[in-house]
Amino acid sequence: MTATPSASARYAGVPRWVAVVAAVGALFVVVPLVGMVVRVNWAQFIPLITSESSIDALWLSLRTSLTATALCILLGVPMAIVLARTQFWGQKILRSLVLLPLVLPPVVGGIALLYTFGRRGLLGSTFDVLGIEIAFSTTAVVLAQTFVALPFLVLSLEGALRTVGTRYEAVGATLGAAPTTVLRRITLPLVLPALLSGAVLSFARALGEFGATLTFAGSLQGVTRTLPLEIYLERETDPDAAVALSLVLVVVAIIVVSIAHQAGESGPLRGGLRAAPATTAPTPVRKSGAA
């Protein structure tokens, strides 16, 4: 399935018009990137991306995105396991709700977070009592990023769990392993590639977060102004800086996507797993990268 020769042999059978339309599609994605790159002021590129505000924004973006990714793994792995391995009333609805941030405009997510964690929000007074202030803090940025990035991890992991099936887990259990041991020694190693690619995708989504952060967290250098917000602001006065920083984000995105691709394709256990028949019904929301 993943071998290169068979892939290239199959390519000969693709109708020419498909290739033509595909090329148009590829151009549609690539040409705007070229359009941006030709506008980069190369003479000023290094000073522009190493200005104090740029470095602050990049550093803040990396820190918050990594924290958000860690939170996504912490919350997302149990969520994916429960969704893939158990059956209960309302599960379908719950899955749709969990995946909702994926399709919501981020600004809507920001408004929802504002009315939940904001000072006058649903939980705002609770946090106030605990002495935790979320509004205008870096915590707010991490919350916004986790909110929008979590579905990516749950989605890819749940798909992988369903594809892998429960055969090995059942064998482990009959040999006397406790559920936690089965999870730790069998389930998680089996879906590790999907977990990695899911985590990288979550990181990428967190890094690009803009709407929810702008609505919910505010914008202050070094505290809440992440790279996308910095780009948005610089555009007002210094388009060159905005373009230079955009290019930095594009490069980071390319690196992230290629890592996710590698993690998704070259899992050491993949070959063996293909032979294992899936004992549960395939999920309707399986992603090709995770399967």
């Binding site: 018009w17 000072r119 006058r120 505010g218 914008s219 809440t224 917000l229 602001l233 007002e236 210094d238």
Partner: protein, 280 residues
């Protein structure tokens, strides 16, 4: 045999769908393209003298976001007084509008929230340097939630510790005005957030996240009961002047100039004054 037939049918449907979507996309492009050009292009050129009543044609007015209410009102009145004219309005931050016009967006009139953005277009020779006319002024005002939880009464109160203050970033006009007031008054503010637009500042105040925000007088007025405005004398240290001008390449220069005259005339001035703008 049946299998092949099915596959062919599927292929045919796929091709059909693809073709349909390509056509739709192209039609969409063409539609929006002609839509934007429709205004100046499709209308017949006017040869009559520019007196009220004889005006014909449609123009596109690019105006600063803070002019949304007043210009929507004025455009409707202008159209009513000059049957045969239509006005398309495009509102955005002044610097966004400058970028759009520089990149070739079809604008006939540009109304800026500050002189800096207007001079970007006169410098680029897209507007005659003699054309811009000042038509309004705007000053900053403190906006607080209706309950005024931090008990703000003056500009100096904004610098008190514990006050969650939200302002515009210095890169945007309202933020530049904030910096000017800070320097003139000697009060150093330490905001919890520097937003990219007045609307974002106002949003943080109306939602109660912030104790106070610095916005324009007109923003406080249009926000109604959602916020309470507190005027402060230091605001005179930064008065924003709004210039308006006809864009050089306008295909409907007569209608465009008539609209500029309307804004700077008595009707325009009274509508602007009602919204809280100052006279130029």
């Amino acid at each position: 045999m049946t299998r092949v037939a099915t596959r062919n049918a599927v292929a045919r449907i796929a091709v059909g769908l693809l073709a349909a979507s390509v056509v739709a996309v192209l039609a969409g492009c063409a539609g929006s393209g002609s839509g934007t050009n429709d205004g100046p292009g499709a209308s017949t050129p006017t040869s009559a003298t520019p007196t009220a009543g004889s005006l014909h044609g449609s123009i596109t007015v690019f105006a600063a976001a803070s002019l949304k209410q007043t210009f929507t009102d004025l455009a409707a009145r202008f159209e009513a007084e000059n049957p045969g004219t239509t006005i398309e309005l495009n509102f955005a931050g002044s610097s966004d509008l400058v970028t759009q016009i520089t990149e070739g967006a079809p604008a006939d009139v540009f109304a800026s929230a500050d002189e800096k953005n207007m001079s970007k277009l006169t410098d680029a020779a897209l507007i005659d340097p003699a054309a811009p006319v000042d038509f309004a002024t705007n000053v900053l005002e403190i906006a607080v939630p209706p309950t005024n939880p931090a008990g703000i009464t003056s500009f100096a109160d904004l610098a008190a510790p514990g006050v969650k203050l939200v302002v515009c970033a210095p890169q945007v006009p309202c933020g530049a005005a904030t910096v000017a007031v800070e320097q003139a008054s000697g009060v150093t503010l330490s905001p919890v957030s520097e937003e990219s637009s007045v609307t974002d500042v106002l949003g943080k105040v109306t939602s109660g996240e912030a104790d106070a925000g610095l916005v324009y007088v007109t923003d406080v007025k249009s926000a109604g009961d959602a916020v309470k405005g507190i005027e402060f004398p230091e605001s005179s240290g930064a008065v924003n002047t709004y210039p308006i001008a006809v864009v050089k390449d306008s295909a409907e220069a007569e209608v465009a100039q008539a609209f500029v005259d309307y804004v700077t005339g008595s009707v325009g001035q009274s509508v602007l004054a009602d919204a809280g703008f100052g006279a130029p």
